[in-house]
Subunit: 207 residues, 2 copies
């Protein structure tokens, strides 16, 4: 298996290659991949050679082939069933984004604690009560729980998802949650995106 | 000024330090910072020494001090006025997230093309017509435009924001937009977050 730091870089190349594929760009160069991480072109070529991927000099790598190869090497090329907790603004935006399923991340069930929402249908999904979480994770073999709930509810909901048996959480509430070591978590952070953009603007102006 | 690859790494350390500060973690180690990028601890220490930041061995860096120092070095420590186009699901989630202003990114105005929304007030913001975009960017000295519009509208809205004079775009619509070199863009990609989480789960299971 691939050493951890190299695997981390591969997952960040995967993200860049994934964006290229999703926006319809045919090729991507080692320079572009390196730029996104702050690593040299040579490091990128060395990492990708591990996978037997050798770009064409001057042209770069075929974005779609690289994307599939990286997914395979990192083990993310199979289908991952997810569930969503929180049918508010973020939840609805995620339900309305059809591309997830095409990319192997199907939202199989939606939960909410608000009695006014439970039993209704939002963007084709029946909103289930939190009491059904455990049975749903088992029946639908859900691996990932998406938390689109307010900050104050994040820990309670994380505990419920862990008890139900998910392997990972995608967390939109910007708050730290305590978890057992066996469950992975990734927090989405829009502020971080704004900061990165501000840095790019400042750098482009010679800062 | 700092060489570009190092500056890129610093901006990624900034993101990690920012998350630590926002979730209330006191210290962060060079190992944690390196883990997030796939670079060695030694590279992290070398980069941060450029800023005169020397962590305490065994303890790491003070997260909040590092965050402020990185923001200063990268030029993102001042206030950045932003505006939002699209008062739908994503737009409302962003308007409801009070932390932006505290972190120096104030949403100063909100625009939408839907006549049913223009003139109404959503989460304390009056929805303005697109015709007011140009005057607003000048009067409020807006630097960043946030695009929370459907895929098909992304290019049209990007053109309008560029004409109005913004320096950067935060793009939620997963589609490539053509821009002049003088305007920076950063796309938010939730699929990429799910992919990274899937990779972490797979790696933790020994994949
Ligand atoms: N990090 C960022 O930059 C950023 C930006 C925007 C929003 N957010 C965060 O994303 C999260 C979601 O935002 P939103 O605008 O969609 O919120 P929202 O209030 O519109 O939706 C939250 C939903 O969660 C449900 N809920 C509340 N407590 C629950 C519980 N215990 N169990 C199950 N469901 C519960 C509510 O009924 C509601 O439907 C918030 O935490 C918000 O702060 C973060
Ligand atoms: N990348 C991802 O993982 C991901 C996930 C979820 C949503 N999204 C994307 O985020 C975007 C916003 O999603 P949403 O759920 O908030 O959509 P939405 O339909 O709820 O809101 C879009 C808003 O934009 C407005 N609008 C449409 N055309 C416009 C124009 N020309 N000028 C100004 N305003 C215009 C609409 O009136 C509406 O209020 C979409 O492009 C969606 O695909 C991406």
């Amino acid at each position: 298996s691939i050493p951890r730091p190299a695997a981390k870089r591969l997952s960040l190349y995967l993200r860049e290659a994934g964006i290229c594929v999703r926006i319809g760009r045919q090729t991507v160069s080692s320079r572009q991949l390196g730029e996104a991480l702050g690593v040299s072109d040579a490091q990128v070529r060395k990492d990708l050679a591990l996978l037997g991927q050798f770009g064409q000099s001057g042209v770069g790598y075929d974005a779609s082939a690289l994307y599939q190869q990286l997914r395979q090497a990192l083990g993310t090329d199979r289908n991952w069933n997810t569930l969503l907790v929180g049918a508010g603004n973020i939840g609805r935006a995620l339900l309305g984004h059809a591309a997830f399923e095409a990319e192997g991340f199907k939202i199989t069930a939606v939960f909410d604690s608000a009695t006014s929402l439970v039993g209704t249908t939002i963007i084709g999904h029946r909103i289930r009560p939190m009491s059904e979480l455990g049975s749903c994770v088992k029946e639908l073999r859900v691996r990932i729980g998406i938390m689109a709930v307010p900050r104050d509810a994040a820990q309670v909901v994380a505990d419920q998802l862990v008890r139900a048996g998910v392997s990972g959480l995608l967390n939109f509430a910007s708050r730290r949650v305590e978890l057992p070591d066996t469950v992975r978590i990734l927090s989405v952070d829009f502020t971080g995106s704004l900061e990165r953009l501000a840095f790019e603007i400042h750098a482009a102006e010679g800062g």
